[in-house]
């Protein structure tokens, strides 16, 4: 469903991604790990269509379409969902209203009938259980005054309602205590199926105790330098990133010679 080939990207002229390759098939869970500054969030933001990133080389195919040509809302309508590292507070816009507008925009794009208030409410009731979110948060402005954990749970709740084909979780584990982490992970696990794929972007291994990935990739200096199964995450946890960095620079030097 997703094929990233030799992706190069810059921010303010500084190269961040330097030839990234990644293939995600339907039904797979991929974890992208890496130290700070390796380009993890850049990758997540580029996939969602955020401005401020310049793709200088390479391509991103999504179901045989050029993803990079689509506007952020078209990507969402085509089934791409980004759970934000820092969910945005929107004063004055009710969370439920926001989500209903989003869902109906997507349904309209797909030629489906928009949900009325009653159907939407039923859907919300069903999904709300997955993330154990306080119903009170639905009546409040989007993310305004939410705690860090509430914001992340709200992201997963949005994801549950919008039911994406490709969900990208950008550091969703940061700032979560272990209970919140379990709830978030449980939400993702319930939603994940053979029909959709998940990319978990994370610095730490601990989220992967609860969301078990099919593949783990290590991102360093704008490239995926190592890929493996779920055991790779465990290895990283034990050895840290330094070992991988060393290996990667050795390979780079070797390649140059």
């Amino acid at each position: 469903m997703l094929e990233i080939v030799n992706l190069h990207a810059t921010v303010n002229g500084n190269p961040i991604l330097k030839g990234l390759n990644l293939t995600v098939k339907t039904g797979e869970v991929h974890a992208i790990m890496g130290p700070n500054g390796s380009g993890k969030s850049t990758l997540a933001n580029i996939l969602a269509g955020k401005e401020g990133y310049t793709v200088t080389k390479g391509e991103v195919r999504y179901y045989d379409r050029n993803l990079l040509e689509l506007s952020p809302e078209e990507r969402a309508c085509e089934g791409v969902f980004l759970a934000f590292q820092y969910p945005v507070e929107i004063p004055g816009v009710n969370n439920t209203y926001f989500l209903k507008t989003a869902l109906n925009s997507i349904r309209k794009y797909r030629g489906e009938e928009e949900l009325d208030a009653m159907d939407f409410l039923n859907l919300v009731r069903e999904k709300i259980k997955l993330v154990e979110i306080d119903e009170d948060l639905l009546k409040r402005p989007v993310n305004e005054g939410f705690s860090g954990g509430e914001k992340k749970r709200n992201e997963i709740f949005h994801m549950a309602v919008l039911d994406p084909k490709l969900a990208i979780l950008d550091e969703t584990d940061s700032g979560l205590d272990i209970d919140a982490l379990k709830i978030v992970a449980n939400g993702v696990n319930v939603l994940q199926s053979e029909h959709n794929s998940v990319i978990v972007v994370t610095h730490y291994q601990r989220l992967l105790n609860y969301i078990v990935p099919d593949f783990v990739h290590v991102l360093w200096d704008g490239r995926i330098v190592k890929s493996g199964g779920k055991e790779l995450a465990q290895q990283l946890e034990e050895q840290g990133y330094d070992r991988i960095k060393e290996e990667a620079s050795r390979t780079a030097t070797g390649a140059a010679v």
Binding site: S71, R75, P91, P141
Partner: protein, 438 residues
């Protein structure tokens, strides 16, 4: 003042007297004389005047405005005013300055209260009108209130005796039907709320689309001890018009006076608010929202005078500017030397929807006491890019997202209103302006 401009208005004063608009009542005549003296000895402000720095009146001064000497607009032109009517309220409707009896209906007024048009009140309640009418306007010696009172004819006079309460809000509409001569409509509202009174008053100033006119409005409010009064001014003048509103508020101890200003129409709108907390433990709330587009200009200039200790003021003004519109906000707070334990909070937030729109905002705090809490904050910004991207990334198109964000920005002020029917009316109006659909 420019001599020819002054002569024009002197001619209008003569014509006004000859046409007998004021019906030769002694109270009105005395007020008019005082006002004319102020008007003729003064000048219209220019941008050299500090408080008019951002509002240039020269486009307005090109015109020679005349009052409507007879209440003549045809029913088909006055009928649209019905769309503003709200259920359950007493209502006074003035068309081109004259009371329209057909649309006016006042019921359930408290004992000894007076809710009358001014030309009636000066005859039947000469003691009250003599004591209160126009006093705050005449004290400040400013040209626009003076021009208004120089041709004092009709308007609303509201007097609430001690302890009385209006169970439903009073709705006052000043409607301009332009046409024929270049009209000036000069709404005047006098509100005298005695001790321990409760009341809500909603004032619309509205004009039919078409020719240019001047709407030069004055509202005077006196709130007695422990009075709780809410007032809203909603301005829907036509887009060719000029609108000036001078609001005076004076409060006694323990009173709560809230004013809500909503400004949408006119090519040039200037709103002056002068609020005086003249008794201890008073609370003054000033809320305002303007939304403008095209070449419109809107200017709010507010002064809150903490003349006595232990008072609280809360001020929230917001502006939304589209097209090439220009706006200004000046918020002055004066804390007198003896006004200890003053608690004043002011905020002014402005949203620019285009690169061509311009806003000037200026908080002005003059604090002479030492034990006070005064905060102020002013912002001028665009639609928040991170919020916009967040919404787009959930499937909402950017136009829709912008209209939702703009609407949310505006609704804060609408939600402060205590009357649901007015909230809905304004919500609909603002939604239509920003292409917002639910």
């Amino acid at each position: 003042m420019n001599p020819s401009k002054k002569n024009w208005y002197l001619t209008q004063f003569d014509l006004f007297d000859k046409n007998g608009n004021g019906k030769k009542n002694a109270t009105s005549a005395a007020i008019r004389d005082k006002a004319r003296n102020i008007f003729t000895s003064g000048d219209f402000p220019t941008t050299d005047d500090e408080s008019w720095k951002y509002t240039n009146l020269s486009p307005m001064l090109q015109y020679n405005f005349s009052p409507a000497f007879i209440p003549d607009p045809s029913p088909e032109k006055t009928d649209p005013v019905r769309s503003l009517f709200m259920d359950g309220t007493s209502r006074m409707v003035f068309i081109n300055g004259w009371l329209n009896e057909q649309f006016t209906s006042i019921q359930g007024i408290p004992k000894k209260a007076v809710i009358k048009n001014i030309s009636e009140a000066v005859r039947t309640n000469s003691d009250l009108t003599g004591e209160f009418l126009g006093k705050q306007s005449l004290a400040v010696q400013q040209p626009f209130p003076a021009l208004n009172l120089s041709m004092l004819n009709d308007g609303a006079f509201i007097y609430l005796p001690d302890g009385s309460e209006l169970s439903e809000p009073l709705h006052i509409i000043f409607y301009t039907v332009p046409g024929g001569r270049t009209l000036m409509n000069q709404p005047f509202v006098q509100i005298v709320a005695s001790d321990n009174t409760r009341a809500g008053i909603i004032i619309h100033t509205v004009g039919l689309p078409g020719e240019v006119y001047l709407s030069n409005a004055v509202t005077e409010v006196i709130a007695g001890k422990s009075a709780k009064i809410e007032i809203a001014n909603i301005q829907y003048e036509n887009l060719q018009s000029f609108h000036i509103h001078s609001l005076f508020m004076k409060q006694s101890s323990d009173s709560q006076l809230s004013h809500h200003a909503f400004s949408f129409g006119s090519s040039l709108a200037r709103n002056d608010v002068s609020a005086t907390l003249d008794g201890e433990n008073g609370e003054c709330v000033l809320n305002g929202l303007f939304t403008i587009e095209g070449q419109q200009h809107s200017d709010h200039s507010t002064v809150i005078d903490h003349a006595k200790p232990n008072c609280r003021s809360r001020e929230v003004y917001k502006g939304i500017l589209n097209g090439k519109s220009t706006g200004a906000f000046n918020g002055k707070i004066i804390v007198r030397q003896d006004s200890q334990r003053t608690d004043a909070k002011q905020s002014n937030n402005n949203l620019l929807l285009t690169k061509e729109a311009t806003m000037n905002t200026r908080p002005q705090l003059e604090i002479f006491a030492d034990d006070v809490k005064c905060t102020h904050g002013a912002t001028i910004g665009r639609i928040d890019d991170t919020a916009l991207f967040y919404m787009r990334s959930r499937g909402i198109d950017p136009y829709r997202a912008q209209s939702i964000l703009t609407m949310a920005f505006a609704m804060q002020l609408v939600e402060y209103l205590p009357w649901e029917s007015l909230r809905l009316q304004l919500q609909e109006r603002i939604a239509a302006q920003f292409n917002f659909r639910n």
